[in-house]
């Protein structure tokens, strides 16, 4: 193997599993350390700069960071990265205001339209207003926030928290055009904006139009996302006692939990696939089960049963999943008679679709066969050069943090475009390295590894929370539990840096490392080296750190996989060939070099 190029910032970035997995690359260990020092405002700021909505995301983020977290590979549960974000937001001083650097001094004369007021558009606004751009934001709702407002139920995300972080951005000077559905892209283009960003999400719920009884039972059948919006806006205030929720994603979980709060007593989830393959996040499924909502998997909806013009139930076919050689799944009927379940209402949460009926076909904005816009790779630029897409509108329904990440990238593209620069010459991440050594055995970071298990987040009593859909179920960690949880973080940003010229090959680091990460061996190909290390190294997406050749002809190979960043190697090295350096990585944003 070639010596690892640690001057490439992506090498150490990848070692910080959580940050690397976060679509917006939030510097997670940095904010977690700040929380452990009770420096909540700074912890909040680290988040706000990267992911724009710390209080919101600290409650409802899809948290792709957590399955990636290194702690989850040395013990059962990862660090509660998401809920720690909430600790920063909850304890941040109430008079948090936009930092001075985000207040523009002068306008640059360029004007941008944002269609849709969800997280993607709001992020574009947050990134571009400081650079002097003027921004008009159009949305059909009365307030900003997009699906975060119309879909995510208040028992998971209180309106107060949403309002605060949305307003922070709107108050930067966004011209809002609310209660306005944009029905023609042509008219927008005619307004001669310098650039247009489309962040309209994936606003159409999928139906089951061909099932027998669908039309006849229509009064009792609702599309999940429309129904959730109706609940938020107060059009729907109650439901029948027996509710069937069809679908296995997070929308289905929100539907059934909302139904429980509006009078649903026998609320059931019905999913086509086996439970293990459901799209919903495991914690959302757990929360639903906890609210006495049974889950029937392997049940394929076959028919709406309508009697005397009224929906009375549904029939389902029981199936089992079979897999062919390619691992492709087929749902095969068990041959049992159809299962009937009685109900008063049905909520369909079987997927979302993109829909751009308002974008005229002759404007030069091209779409692929799935109905999604054709975009430049990584630039989010459409085939009409001053029109950009992001969030769910770009690649179909994802989540808030992905919409934010798209917003950052689109803002970079818009800024480059309007400055006449090529879109592929994008700003680079900013990176700093800081030595952590204070004395022979003293470190600037907490290198002793806490053995506490993941802290449980306290919740409101079930009987109480089921009575009112506005009561937030989770109470969040208090400061003490937040500290305990923060101490579980392994500081993966404190990197082990190897100086090959200093090493005398004494093996002290090899012997001292509790995880058997370090090896001094003959060089070879990666595949072959992985079979010769002290500890098994099957995690191919975890890097091997390889040094230049040492005097004995061997090379140092460190498997990054389960390194605890404890610094014991650096403590036991007589020559300081191992150094612990804090690596701070921040993704580029619009206007940066």
């Amino acid at each position: 193997m070639k010596p690892t190029d640690i001057s490439n910032p992506e090498y150490f970035h990848k070692v910080i599993d959580c940050q690397f997995a976060c679509p917006a690359h939030t510097p997670v260990p940095e904010y977690i350390r700040l929380i452990s020092e009770k420096r909540y405002d700074e912890a909040y700021m680290i988040n706000w700069v990267s992911n724009v909505f710390p209080g919101i995301l600290g409650r409802v983020c899809d948290r792709p960071c957590e399955p990636a977290c290194r702690r989850g590979r040395v013990e059962k549960d990862p660090v509660a990265i998401c809920r720690l974000k909430r600790v920063a937001a909850d304890n941040c001083s109430p008079d948090f205001t936009i930092p001075a650097a985000y207040v523009p001094n002068t306008k640059n004369g360029k004007k941008i339209a944002l269609i849709g007021g969800g997280p993607a558009s709001l992020t574009v606004a947050r990134d571009l207003i400081p650079l002097g751009y003027e921004v008009d934001l159009y949305d059909d709702q009365a307030k900003g926030g997009g699906f975060m407002r119309s879909q995510v139920p208040s028992f998971r995300l209180p309106e107060k928290v949403l309002d605060k972080e949305v307003e922070l951005i709107l108050n930067m000077g966004v011209n809002t055009v609310f209660n306005t559905y944009v029905s023609s892209m042509k008219t927008i283009l005619e307004k001669k904006y310098d650039a247009v960003f489309v962040g309209t999400g994936a606003p159409r719920g999928r139906d089951l139009p061909d099932l027998p009884g669908r039309k006849e039972g229509d009064a009792g059948v609702h599309l999940g996302i429309d129904w959730l919006a109706s609940v938020v806006f107060g059009h729907v205030k109650s439901v029948g006692k027996r509710i069937l929720v069809i679908g296995g994603g997070n929308t289905a979980m929100d539907c059934c939990r909302t139904a429980r709060r509006l009078g649903g007593e026998d609320v059931r989830i019905l999913v086509r696939s086996p439970r293990e393959e459901m799209k919903a996040s495991p914690w959302e499924i757990e929360d639903a089960l906890h609210e006495d909502i049974p889950l029937y998997d392997n049940h394929v909806p076959k028919e709406f049963v309508v009697e005397q013009g009224k929906l009375v139930g549904m029939r389902f076919e029981k199936v089992t999943a079979e897999y062919d050689d390619q691992g492709k799944r087929k749902l095969v009927s068990t041959g049992e008679p159809l299962v009937f379940m009685a109900c008063d209402e049905v909520l369909l949460a079987v997927g979302q679709l993109n829909a751009f009926p308002w974008i005229e076909k002759d404007l030069g904005i091209e779409f692929d066969s799935w109905g999604l816009p054709i975009l430049g790779k990584g630039t989010f630029q459409s085939t009409l050069e001053h029109v950009f897409f992001g969030g769910d509108a770009a690649f179909g329904p994802k989540n808030i943090i992905t919409a934010v990440a798209h917003g950052h990238e689109a803002a970079i593209s818009i800024d480059l475009f309007l400055r006449g620069l090529p879109l592929n010459q994008r700003p680079t991440p900013s990176v700093t390295m800081a030595g952590q050594k204070m004395g022979i055995h003293d470190w600037l970071y907490d290198n002793q590894i806490s053995e506490e298990q993941r802290q449980v987040v306290p919740t409101v009593e079930k009987v109480k929370s089921l009575k009112d859909r506005l009561i937030e179920v989770e109470l969040g960690y208090d400061q003490e539990h937040g500290h305990t949880e923060a101490m579980r973080c392994l500081n993966c940003d404190v990197q082990t840096v190897f100086h090959v010229a200093e090493c005398i090959e004494c093996d002290a680091c090899v012997d001292a490392c509790p995880e058997r990460c370090i090896n001094f061996i003959e060089n070879g190909s990666e595949e072959e080296i992985r079979t010769r290390l002290l500890a098994p190294a099957p995690e191919l997406n975890q890097g091997l750190y390889v040094s230049d050749v040492l005097p004995t002809g061997k090379v140092m190979v460190k498997d990054e996989n389960v390194c605890l960043h404890c610094g014991i190697c650096a403590e036991r090295c007589p020559t300081s060939a191992w150094e612990m350096q804090k690596f701070f990585y921040r993704s580029p944003q619009a206007g940066q070099k």
């Binding site: 053995e451 004494c506 002290a508 500890a535 610094g567 036991r572 090295c573």
Partner: protein, 350 residues
């Protein structure tokens, strides 16, 4: 200061045949100087015991005084241990071994502890071919008392204080072979590929297994003029042979070409396979072993590897015809069989 090792261990490390994890063989976190060769020897002991699936409670660690003698604190934390006075490890080991022959005795000593104050004890434990592993962590100096030359320091070698050593050195391996040790090897702390299998063979041998491990003292004797520095040892080391050690019970999976490999079978049916290069010595021949050591010394080289094995060697218990059962396991009835038995014995002399 990191006083505690983290509690987590690599989740994919498999346990050994006896069901123990590698961590079951670890000891406390080391307080030796960073980079000390002794720590590497400790790690090699941990690995050898783990790989042989020795039950930790079957091992007795014994030592004298010195940095090396402190080492047992840093391995086999679940084994028995006795830290004796300076140079007295062999007599404690002898006593313990006589009382309970069922345990594995692992003596750890230094070149000062063995070749100076403990020389007499060393000599007699070797003569008795006491069933133990006797490891000398040899750094050519008294590390614990700040680096004075020990009796194994080579004449002319220059340590940290800068004055060359004036006295002739003692070669503990040569003496051990001469005095009747059944298994003698020399290795280097910086070469676990050689050291770990050597320790495994030593642990399997029944009788005195003497292993001299050159183990540099980074603080007082890792100087450019020292013949016990990492650098010097790496440059001036020659191995008798490479070898594989196949423990008893383990299936032999490698094919060995005839004529190129010599097999030496130990008492417990473990086998050492020696791969011969040119002019390799016959490791079951004492004379050849001594000659090879002297010859290399003349050339300024350090000979490492398994130097001598007597597969038929008899340990102290065999020599003394002691009872097969451990003495400490004998009850009052066995020890005082009564007047009739005494009368029988007396009759034999009439």
């Amino acid at each position: 200061m990191t006083f505690f090792r983290p509690g987590f261990r690599h989740p994919d490390l498999p346990p050994n045949e006896a069901g123990y994890e590698l961590r079951d063989y670890e000891g406390g976190i080391s307080t030796l100087c960073a980079g000390c060769g002794h720590d590497s020897v400790n790690a090699a002991i941990i690995r050898a015991c783990f790989e042989l699936a020795i039950e930790p409670h079957k091992v007795v660690k014994l030592s004298g005084i010195g940095c090396s003698s402190k080492s047992p604190a840093y391995f086999l934390g679940k084994s028995h241990g006795f830290n004796s006075v300076h140079g007295r490890m062999p007599s404690i080991a002898t006593g313990a071994n006589m009382a309970n022959r069922d345990l594995i005795y692992l003596g750890v000593s230094g070149d000062g502890d063995t070749a100076s104050i403990g020389m007499g004890q060393f000599a007699h434990a070797v003569r008795r071919n006491l069933n133990m592993v006797y490891i000398v962590m040899n750094n050519g100096c008294y590390g614990l008392t700040k680096g004075q030359y020990s009796a194994t320091a080579d004449k002319g070698s220059i340590g940290k204080k800068g004055e060359p050593n004036q006295l002739e050195s003692i070669d503990l391996c040569e003496i051990a072979i001469q005095l009747g040790a059944g298994f003698v090897g020399r290795s280097f702390s910086g070469d676990k590929q050689q050291l770990v299998p050597m320790l495994k063979a030593a642990l399997s041998y029944e009788g005195m297994s003497f292993v001299d491990v050159i183990s540099p003292c980074v603080t007082f004797n890792n100087t450019p003029g020292s013949t016990k520095s990492y650098h010097w040892v790496r440059e001036h080391r020659e191995a008798t042979n490479t070898f594989d050690f196949v423990p008893f019970r383990q299936e032999i999976t490698t094919e060995y070409a005839e004529g190129k490999t010599e097999a030496v079978t130990l008492h417990d049916e473990s086998v050492i396979y020696l791969h011969k290069g040119d002019g390799n010595l016959q490791i079951t021949d004492r004379r050849q072993a001594m000659d090879a050591l002297e010859e290399h010394k003349r050339k300024g080289l350090i000979l490492t590897g398994i130097l001598y094995v007597d597969p038929e060697g008899e340990d102290t218990h065999v020599i003394l015809h002691t009872t097969k059962r451990a003495l400490n396991a004998l009850g009052e009835k066995d020890l005082c069989p009564g007047n009739d038995a005494l009368a029988d014995i007396n009759d034999r002399f009439r």
